[in-house]
Symmetry: C2
Subunit: 141 residues, 2 copies
Amino acid sequence: MLKFSKKVEYGLMSIMHIARMKGNKVTARELSEQYNIPPEILGKVLQKLKKDQLLESIQGVNGGYRIIRELTDISLEDVIISLDGPVVITHCCKGTGDDCTQFKTCNIIEPMQKFQNKLNKLFSDMNLNDFFFDEEQKVEF
Amino acid sequence: MLKFSKKVEYGLMSIMHIARMKGNKVTARELSEQYNIPPEILGKVLQKLKKDQLLESIQGVNGGYRIIRELTDISLEDVIISLDGPVVITHCCKGTGDDCTQFKTCNIIEPMQKFQNKLNKLFSDMNLNDFFFDEEQKVEF
DNA sequence: TTATATCCGACAAAATAAGTCCTATTTTTT
DNA sequence: AAAAAATAGGACTTATTTTGTCGGATATAA
């Protein structure tokens, strides 16, 4: 419960690594070996990040991935949505309630939605530069 | 990913309901029927909440559950820990790294732990009165 | 003594996440 | 032109986690 998926972890590790390369290309294979990540999965992770323009890819021999956007311009939410889709913390609140046996009588729909908004804000306010490098932990958020 | 467990949802629904009864007893069966929750599961949820003293139970005929603590005195974290155990958002950061194939070379251990602290603070700062009833959504947290 | 309730462990089923397999496409080098 | 090295991506299997079920034990009021 409330755990990041492996895909998001792999994505963040890759972006961290690629960002440190300052615009130089990195291949999926290098990342896969460096971090012991199954290459097929990593491939798909990188492809999704590319599709959502968090990374740039170059195909063919001497190809690879590199980063073109500023880390301050990418939010944690961007990464999560790209790899896992939108964060939905509840079973009740997906929309119509067709998928929840409690929907009709549920008494926490509103509180859950409000809390979800709080979480979403936390993810969208957190840019990757702060996520990766900020030493100072802000006390309030 | 990042979804509340059914147990936590059931627990919150129950506490919400019981809190509205202002100290009167509520049976597991009533809750189970009202909210269409499998009675065996709900039983265990309520028992855990009792064990962690978020609810009080009265056994035997005419027994049931009631609430004795102020909602402002119970945090969302209390409920989650009681029903699911501590929130651990990563696969990497459980401690020794024995359970993570990336641990040795992982480059996001620190950021993940910091973010986990942020999340923990969000959960522990959120008391159930605010969670259930506060209409005004604070803009920053 | 019976009925109604909490209490609780072991197991089964379902849902989700993670990983594998296989192939296609693109581009540089030889 | 062919081969090699890289990204791209669908279909499927396995593993893990979550959810639910079954069976019974204990406690208390009527």
